[in-house]
Symmetry: C2
Subunit: 207 residues, 2 copies
DNA sequence: ACCTGAACACCGTTCAAGT
DNA sequence: ACCTGAACACCGTTCAAGT
């Protein structure tokens, strides 16, 4: 509640406020329970106002998902930078980070990967963000191949195998398929490390 | 359109018809586009009638998801039976079957794992069906351990690693994250085989 | 026992109109 | 330029009433 402008039609950044409110409501009520009207209500604006800033509800959700992919990419790059010359550790760190990020934002993860956003609702920006995240992972695999830690050949395939393993665990945990692990971050970390290590073994040299 | 009963308040099996209609609409319009009112409309019954057979919309969806888990379990058992004394082949077959089943029913897979069903909406029957599917996979891993193909120790952990890999690929494909592979079943089969083999290597003996 | 029809409180989206 | 308020066509769910 800024004292300066009192009520100058929401001091400029309605778009940003809607985004923040949407992220919060998503976390609280889940993707099914989030309504555009409530986002507007909570932001203190009429239910038609969001349409000045987003084409429709899906566009708002796409923007939230985009931020999620950006965090995934950043985590991957951090893991790479923190373990130069240790490709296997790069991959394990990135994998653990991926799963932890998912478990800390289960509803957003469902939004990103669960099909709440129909293919037609994927904005070009969202596509870019998702592609970037995969590229960051692929880069880590490439490092490992160059160092002779992983077998040669199709980098894309090895990256897909590693991604699948980590992504699968993340989805199983966020869906609650493995029991209620949401609180027990240490256990999640352990499972993520185990699964990622199996992937490292699986794509490793020697055969 | 049976000629016998003409219109005797829908010849007995409204529950079954609703289930069938729901499965069809789910496939056609996705989990977000499916409404209980349309299920009723398509079945030729008033929009309040389904409530005689299902507590609410979530209960109907849960029943559809349940059937999906049952198919998963059946596929696993088929893969096991078809490859007795070849544990690695059991796992690869089961994995490929898992991914193919998902890609053939993308919307149902999103329903089963995508979080459209809130935790509170998981019926006991649905929980049972999901647990059974994991148990069927675990059994295949156990075979491999007994045969000395996989390393000893926690069967649950090895099974989780394998499940994560296969599940991750299935979710990435059905979410369209890997491009539009829905049509190209041969390519999906190839990717599934590759990912499952990496998992077999990863949990294999020798280190 | 099983289904209907009206009713209620919500949605997403559009559009004229206000400042 | 940016927002409002009424309107429209939908929802899920409930409940008295019909057969």
């Amino acid at each position: 509640m800024p004292e300066s402008s009192e009520k100058t039609y929401h001091h400029g950044d309605l778009r940003g406020e809607l985004l923040k409110a949407a992220a919060r409501l998503l976390r609280e009520k889940g993707v099914g329970g989030l309504s555009l009207r409530e986002v507007a209500r909570v932001t203190g604006v009429s239910h038609a106002a969001p349409y000045r800033h987003f084409k429709d509800k899906a566009a708002l959700l796409a923007a939230v998902a985009e931020a999620g992919f950006a965090e995934l990419t950043a985590g991957c790059r951090r893991a790479e930078a923190a373990n130069s010359d240790a490709p296997a550790r790069q991959l394990v760190d990135a994998g653990v980070g991926y799963v932890l990020l998912a478990v800390r934002n289960p509803e957003r993860t469902q939004l990103m990967f669960g099909g709440a956003l129909a293919p037609a609702d994927w904005t070009p920006e969202l596509h870019r963000a998702a592609t970037d995240a995969f590229a960051a992972l692929e880069h880590i695999i490439e490092n490992g191949q160059r160092a002779g830690a992983y077998r040669g050949g199709e980098t894309r395939e090895l990256a897909l195998a590693a991604w699948s393993a980590v992504h699968g665990l993340a989805m199983l945990v966020t869906a609650g398929q493995l029991g209620d692990l949401a609180g027990d971050e240490e256990q999640v970390r352990g499972l993520a490390r185990m699964v990622t290590k199996v992937a490292v073994e699986g794509i490793g040299t020697r055969d």
